[in-house]
């Protein structure tokens, strides 16, 4: 007889998810059992460091910050707040056009660039090749390591990795000292990441391996220009900053603030994305392949850290299989 599924009494993970064990005595998953909240002192130390970096950015190129802007709530709010707190920053906001960005997200991104006087760049790659790549990601099994599978779907991991590679490339080629990503506290643990050439080269190599495992033959367009990590090329002087590990994370408040400044809710059926039409399909695809909801770890971490109510997170984990975007994306990816 199959064992009954146990749910963590603190977060949203349960024993049906591969790799999750619930301690029958404490009722907690292994992540909640080992969780230590970030101390106020540490948070203050991070805030001081972010201030020190962003208040007097080293002058090198045209931009101080290369900013990854999806047009969703988190990144729109981060761009707005970054510019509000550090008005002197020159920002290049990059929106990656993966071919499935909602019209509203495109509009929101441009609106928030106008609002913050940031330069807007719509980064486009060969759309047919991208569709083939997402299709390969959807069909792939185990192209990403176990942990990455918990963090995001194979499709999202592919898309996010392309964005990271191209943003780092842009920062190196424009001599920008900072990159800012609006990752939630559930999506990353490190508030600052200093990039060195060996590390960037290693990131490139790892993603190249992931793409190869998916059967993507033409990979160079998705990777950091190899010349930038060759021996003899200059050492990058770049720090990646994740402000949501320093600021309090309160998505409903961010949304209210964004709407006040003209952000439009795209009203997608998908509970987990306000910008990408691929997302609902990507979640379903991941569930079908691995029995892992690709937002479960992110949401569990937010609940654990006190950034979200458990009931709200559970609602977000409901997959609406009647969402027409799922079938539409499936058709577009020839699956």
């Amino acid at each position: 007889m199959a064992k009954e599924a146990l749910s963590c009494k603190k977060c949203v993970l349960d024993s049906r998810t591969p790799g999750i064990s619930i301690n029958a005595d404490t009722g907690l998953c292994q992540f909640c059992e080992n969780f230590t909240p970030l101390s106020e002192e540490k948070k203050e130390e991070y805030r001081i460091r972010m201030d020190a970096l962003l208040k007097s950015p080293p002058k090198g190129g045209k931009y101080d910050v290369i900013f990854a802007l999806s047009g969703g709530v988190d990144s729109s709010y981060t761009l707005y707040r970054l510019k509000k707190e550090y008005p002197h920053l020159t920002i290049l906001a990059v929106q990656f056009d993966n071919g499935f960005i909602s019209e509203t997200a495109l509009e929101n991104a441009q609106k928030f660039c106008d609002l913050t006087k940031s330069t807007y760049l719509r980064l486009s790659l060969d759309q047919q090749a991208l569709r083939d790549t997402f299709s390969k990601a959807a069909r792939s099994m185990n192209a990403y390591p176990g942990t990455a599978k918990y963090r995001a779907s194979d499709i999202c991991n592919t898309c996010i990795s392309i964005i990271k590679q191209k943003i780092i490339e842009l920062a190196i080629t424009t001599n920008a000292p900072f990159i800012v990503f609006a990752f939630s506290p559930g999506q990353t643990d490190a508030p600052f990441v200093t990039l060195t050439k060996p590390f960037v080269g290693w990131m490139r190599k790892i993603f190249d391996g992931n793409l190869r495992a998916m059967g993507v033959a033409e990979r160079d367009a998705y990777l950091i220009d190899a010349r930038l990590v060759q021996s003899g090329s200059p050492e990058p002087e770049i720090t990646i900053i994740h402000p949501f590990l320093i600021w309090d994370y309160d998505k409903p408040e961010f949304k209210k603030e964004c709407i006040k400044h003209g952000w439009i809710d795209p009203d997608l059926k998908d509970h987990n994305s306000s910008n990408c039409l691929l997302n609902a399909f990507a979640i379903k695809n991941h569930l079908d392949k691995y029995h892992i909801h690709s937002y479960a770890y992110d949401l569990a971490a937010l609940v654990r850290q006190g950034c979200m109510q458990r009931d709200d997170a559970i609602k977000k984990l409901n997959v609406d299989v009647s969402d027409p975007s799922i079938q539409e994306v499936q058709r577009e990816l020839n699956l």
């Binding site: 790799g19 390591p145 942990t147 918990y150 490190a190 990441v193 200093t194 990131m203 391996g209």
Partner: protein, 94 residues
């Protein structure tokens, strides 16, 4: 060295980086065997810094030092003994 190796393996297992059944040899590449990627590498670095109260200089984060169990154990040992001189840039994490 063995103790460090065990700590690393335990961390990889409890965090779900490593399947309980997977056997990792000393010189297996963690990235090529699908155990870590760039983000999980940062989590591992964070863990090592907290666990051993060390600061890992950014210039030290290379595949040679952090892509195998033996490389990591050796790097941690060097740092614990104070054999590494940083260029002052500090750790990749705070």
């Amino acid at each position: 060295m063995d103790e460090t190796r065990e700590d690393i393996l335990n961390f990889l297992k409890t965090q779900g980086f490593l399947n309980e059944k997977k056997i990792l040899q000393e010189n297996d590449s963690l990235s090529e065997t699908g155990v870590i990627d760039s983000i999980t590498l940062l989590q591992l670095i964070d863990f090592l810094e907290s666990k051993y109260n060390i600061e890992i200089p950014v210039e030290m984060i290379t595949p040679e030092n952090f892509d195998t169990l033996s490389g990591i154990s050796h790097s941690v040992m060097q740092l614990k003994q104070g054999d590494v001189v940083s260029d002052g840039k500090g750790s990749s994490l705070v």
